[in-house]
Assembly symmetry: C2
Homo-oligomer: 246 residues x 2
Amino acid sequence: MSTLLNRPLPGQSRYGSLALALRHRILQGEWVPGEVIPAESVLAHSYGVALGTIRQALSLLVEDGVLQRRHGKGTFVTKGVGGASMMRFFRFRGADGSASTTPHSHILSNRLRTATVQEAQAFGLSQGAQVLHIERLRSLASEPCLLETIVLPLPLFSSLAESDTDAWDDLLYPMYQERCGVVIQKAQDSLSFAKLSASQAKRLRLAASHPCVLVERQAYDMAGSCVEIRTTRGDAFSFKYTAQVQ
Amino acid sequence: MSTLLNRPLPGQSRYGSLALALRHRILQGEWVPGEVIPAESVLAHSYGVALGTIRQALSLLVEDGVLQRRHGKGTFVTKGVGGASMMRFFRFRGADGSASTTPHSHILSNRLRTATVQEAQAFGLSQGAQVLHIERLRSLASEPCLLETIVLPLPLFSSLAESDTDAWDDLLYPMYQERCGVVIQKAQDSLSFAKLSASQAKRLRLAASHPCVLVERQAYDMAGSCVEIRTTRGDAFSFKYTAQVQ
DNA sequence: GAGTGGTCTAGACCACGAC
DNA sequence: TCGTGGTCTAGACCACTCT
């Protein structure tokens, strides 16, 4: 019934090994995102450890965002990051006043091309591999607000390459999960400042060389592999972000 | 020997109450920043709880940044946030190439004035109270890079109002601690973009209406009171920041 | 070797959520 | 009422740091 990892790996605590083992079972698809995993007491018994030990293991995975606890209900596999997370960097004021809705998405282009050296390295592909290159405009109340370039590694997302972009959802991450079985687990955003090119400015209905914020994102799946590289541009004067020190 | 909080506060777990009690003793100055607190076993005995319970209480304060554990040595009161934390938002390239040193500080002005309504509210002062208003230019390799406005509540920082600004340190937070007994425990930075005024641009040796990053900081002491409001401006093209999603 | 935090056990009871 | 995670106990032994 139990796996054979009764002895912790060298240099690892027992709860560390248990966390690794559980993470492996999740990645194998034994429990799919959104599903409950067995109760703590069951896991403790099946691994032959005390309750406190399995709880420490679960805590590691909760910290990592792989699991979520719900008091009285159980421990669940995380469903993946939400949708309009890019909006946390901006405060767009709609013509009508309030905002905070999901922006509408319009795909401008969608084509295959050869990966750059950096992209191949990030995705773990061999040089010369193919990627899907998407240009996309996002709008709030018919006002264009964000211009995005999205690069996806290719055999993984090949089902998107052939599909009709008009039928795509406003939120890509849930669509990745439905159509390609890819769950976005975490992402890293790198912010900087630049000026819009003439064509970019036209798309966003701003003046050429208008200042913009550049968000360069790498998104990772549950196994920790990079599966999306995204570059987002938005009006610098709509930028607003809050960070904590310590 | 022990305090009388054997019964947890209503709606609080025992370890939550213990954390509150310990935090209070730290704020009272019973253990100063940098010092060890008693061993876990000693605390557990003196409060009449199990070791695991006091460990949970300490973990809360560690998460909060009030305490730091060091295996084999003890549990220490945090010394306060470091120095050049504003530099994490920028990547200045010095004329010589590398950077990552503490910028030199030059105080431009230092005067008393009446607090604005927002400042009085943030500091918990009555309306019409006095604050210290400081203008300061920070330079890297003789190149001006950051322009700062610093507002401090007044009876707390009155010793700074009368001192010679030439003798001030490059880092203010350690100086607050030495001269005024104020330990900066955490801070919140709010980022946005703006254009430099003519006088601001001149100080930074940039063109008027050049784009800049605006960092609006509120810094808090160990008790959680706001004790500094700072506005920092720097060249938008030197801005670089990385954030994690989930 | 003495003292510290880190790991682990085998129980107990409590608080929450659903049936 | 039952099963879940959350809190708590009273021990044990291990790993790190200093003297």
